[in-house]
């Protein structure tokens, strides 16, 4: 250790930290009911989650699901914290999930909006549902980066991006050239796109790793990959 490091350790020990409270009673009181033997509420949660997953598969989502979710007041209303992620199958066949593979020029022509591109051309391009254009960097079995651009064209309503996160997921507000966004990192998270009727129009459990999401000019952008926040923002700002 250097002298500065020793000074920091000493400083840490001399910091004025209030006496730690006894949290045991409060934690036990506010903790969900017993999990031993899957108590009734636990079973209800499992059933509800299973029901949710089943309904999600049919592109419907019940209002009753709100009982399971809590809105996280960071990153806007769109980020919701859940105790358990819905059980969805991760797309093992990534290519099939992304859509029709097309040349970049064809994607530019058919996308219906001005595609933004990185300096490095994508290795593969796909046209997916709801007009989403996917740029894949690397190979489907070894994706370095996935860039999604989705036009927001729901009548009289805003397409809502619902990112379901777990307690281990870190949610950070970011700004991409003045457009608000969020950077999610950590444990698996799960993306819903909901329309104005709260119908699921897309669900994603693709890479389920670090994701940067932002909206600009009527297009939702998403960068997914093993990215740190600074790297993701740098890439996002270099989209032209």
């Amino acid at each position: 250790m250097t002298e500065l490091e020793h000074l920091l350790v000493a400083l840490g020990r001399d910091l004025d930290v209030p006496e730690d409270p006894d949290l045991v009673a409060a934690v036990l009181a506010s903790r969900p009911v017993s999990k031993t033997g899957l108590a009734p509420r636990r079973w209800a949660l499992v059933v509800a989650v299973a029901l949710l997953a089943a309904l999600a598969a049919t592109l419907a989502i019940p209002d009753a699901r709100s009982a399971l979710f809590r809105v996280l007041h960071i990153g806007g209303e769109r980020i919701e914290l859940v105790d358990e992620l819905p059980r969805v199958s991760v797309d093992h066949d990534l290519e099939a999930a992304l859509g029709e593979r097309v040349p970049l020029e064809e994607a530019r022509r058919r996308s219906g909006f001005d595609l933004r591109e990185l300096d490095e051309p994508p290795d593969r391009v796909y046209l997916g549902e709801r007009g989403t254009v996917w740029f894949l960097y690397g190979e489907p079995a070894d994706v370095r980066l996935l860039v999604a651009q989705t036009p927001l064209q729901v009548l009289d309503g805003e397409l809502m991006v619902k990112k379901l996160t777990t307690p281990e997921t870190r949610v950070e507000r970011v700004s991409v050239d003045g457009s608000p966004g969020v950077f999610l990192s950590g444990e698996a998270h799960f993306l819903f796109l909901l329309d104005e009727y709260r119908q699921i129009v897309e669900e994603s459990a693709r890479l389920a790793r670090d994701v940067l999401i932002w909206e600009s000019g009527g297009v939702a952008y998403r960068l997914e990959g093993e990215l740190e926040r600074g790297e993701a923002l740098r890439l996002a700002r270099s989209l032209r």
């Binding site: 250097t2 500065l4 490091e5 000074l7 920091l8 350790v9 000493a10 400083l11 840490g12 001399d14 910091l15 004025d16 930290v17 209030p18 730690d20 409270p21 006894d22 949290l23 045991v24 409060a26 934690v27 036990l28 506010s30 903790r31 969900p32 017993s34 999990k35 031993t36 033997g37 996280l72 007041h73 960071i74 105790d83 358990e84 777990t166 307690p167 281990e168 997921t169 870190r170 949610v171 950070e172 507000r173 990192s185 950590g186 444990e187 740190e228």
Partner: protein, 182 residues
Amino acid sequence: MEGRPPDDVALAERARRGDERAFEELVRLHQAIAFRTAYLLTGSAADAEDSAQVGFVKAWAALPRFRPGAEFKPWLLRIVANEAHNRRRSAGRRVALAVRATEAPPGDATPSPEGAALARERQEELLAAVGRLDERDRDVLTCRYFLELSEEETAAVLDLRRGTVKSRTARALARLRGEVGS
């Protein structure tokens, strides 16, 4: 891992299987470091208490996903740190920590009042310099030196790769040297 009671892994495994008494023991064992972590990240006793409490509750809910045999403390602290980060950003205020006022014990080895004041002043300058660093530098220094976590634990708590912790720590120390001029 230093400082970890030998039965920590066993307790976590029992708690993962739904043993409430084991979880209660884990709360007892880790509540102090959870609160200290949250306090150093938020600078608010109320937010720290809430973050630690909510962190434990979320940890209980997330225990089914806890990997058997894994270290419980860094996993818990990551949840608490996430909660603390979220609260800090929601509050939108800067973290203001302070050096504890100490009452010098009597004895020959006790520094003079002037010496003690000088040492305290230097510590306050160093703390102020840490406070001027950006959030990521500050967080990594907080974990490594104020909380005395290992690189591996810091990586788990901040959700970084170990190599990133090493490089970010070196960068933060270099910036801190620039700030304090040493």
